[in-house]
Symmetry: C2
Subunit: 142 residues, 2 copies
DNA sequence: TACCAATAGTTGGTGTACAAACCATTGGCC
DNA sequence: GGCCAATGGTTTGTACACCAACTATTGGTA
């Protein structure tokens, strides 16, 4: 390996970007039949875990800008997976809830993680270790 | 930790996406004085390592779509860091070369990696280990 | 109670990111 | 030499992603 500190192959951030894009690319064909993109899938995961959620709360959970979530949520509403209603207790806030269809999708989604792990073909322990490292980095970067 | 296979905090891909975005966010204020975004910085790294490069070659090196690179390269040309000229040997191909200004920028860029490592505050060995894991994942996903 | 800073979402602008359609050049091959 | 599939880039359309500016509601406080 090169000793140049600016060598492309030495940059952790480059590896991080490429890895993220590559893994998202594995999800793409798996999510396509469900009509979801990867960020949309993450929103659904959050809502399957806890509902209703506000845009603010989603933004914290997914570490995404509200300005990114706003149109994304409208698209999920348009395809019928969720509802966006004002919270009666605080009219500023949105109460985002799953529709029947959105609830039902969870059964399909259960197939996704094993399919991804199979495609990657890496030992679970490696993935676990990676997850731990990534969590460290996220904590350090925030 | 939850035993739900769809729990957000268990998804490696979620951690990967958030980590990538978080680390890019660390670069942002460092690159801003140079007038570069993170992907543009990666292109510059590639060119500092080897020049001239074609769009095709850059696309392989950075694992980015030519359709993504095309406008990005025009922006880098517009701010004067590189030149896009047809390769006389093959008029289909672009020969992308650095300008004086682009060459000179390398000296500034040398400050970036240590600054990022400092901001992260993680031991180098951890980053090295992470890099190894990521390289594995990239290989597995391709 | 009337103001006003804080909070929740939305919108608009710039820059990726990818897929598909497109255009020009090239290199075989009859 | 002339056709034609392959190759290299560009363009278009959709969807993030972030920032800054904006609107509407809320809650404290003079």
């Amino acid at each position: 390996m090169s000793d140049d500190p600016l060598a492309l192959e030495r940059q952790v951030c480059f590896a991080l970007s490429v890895a993220a894009r590559s893994v998202v690319a594995i999800y793409r064909p798996l999510l396509e039949p469900m009509g979801l993109t990867h960020p949309q899938y993450l929103v659904m995961l959050a809502l399957w875990g806890d509902s209703p959620l506000s845009v603010r709360r989603l933004s914290e959970l997914l570490q995404l800008d509200p300005g990114t979530l706003s149109p994304l949520l409208k698209r999920l509403e348009a395809i019928g997976y969720l509802r966006r209603e004002r919270d009666p207790a605080d009219e500023r806030s949105l109460a985002i809830t799953l529709t029947e269809s959105g609830q039902a999708l969870r059964a399909e989604a259960l197939k996704i993680p094993p399919a991804v792990v199979a495609k990657l073909g890496l030992p679970i322990e490696d993935l676990q270790r990676l997850h731990t490292s990534l969590t460290q980095v996220i904590a350090a970067a925030s």
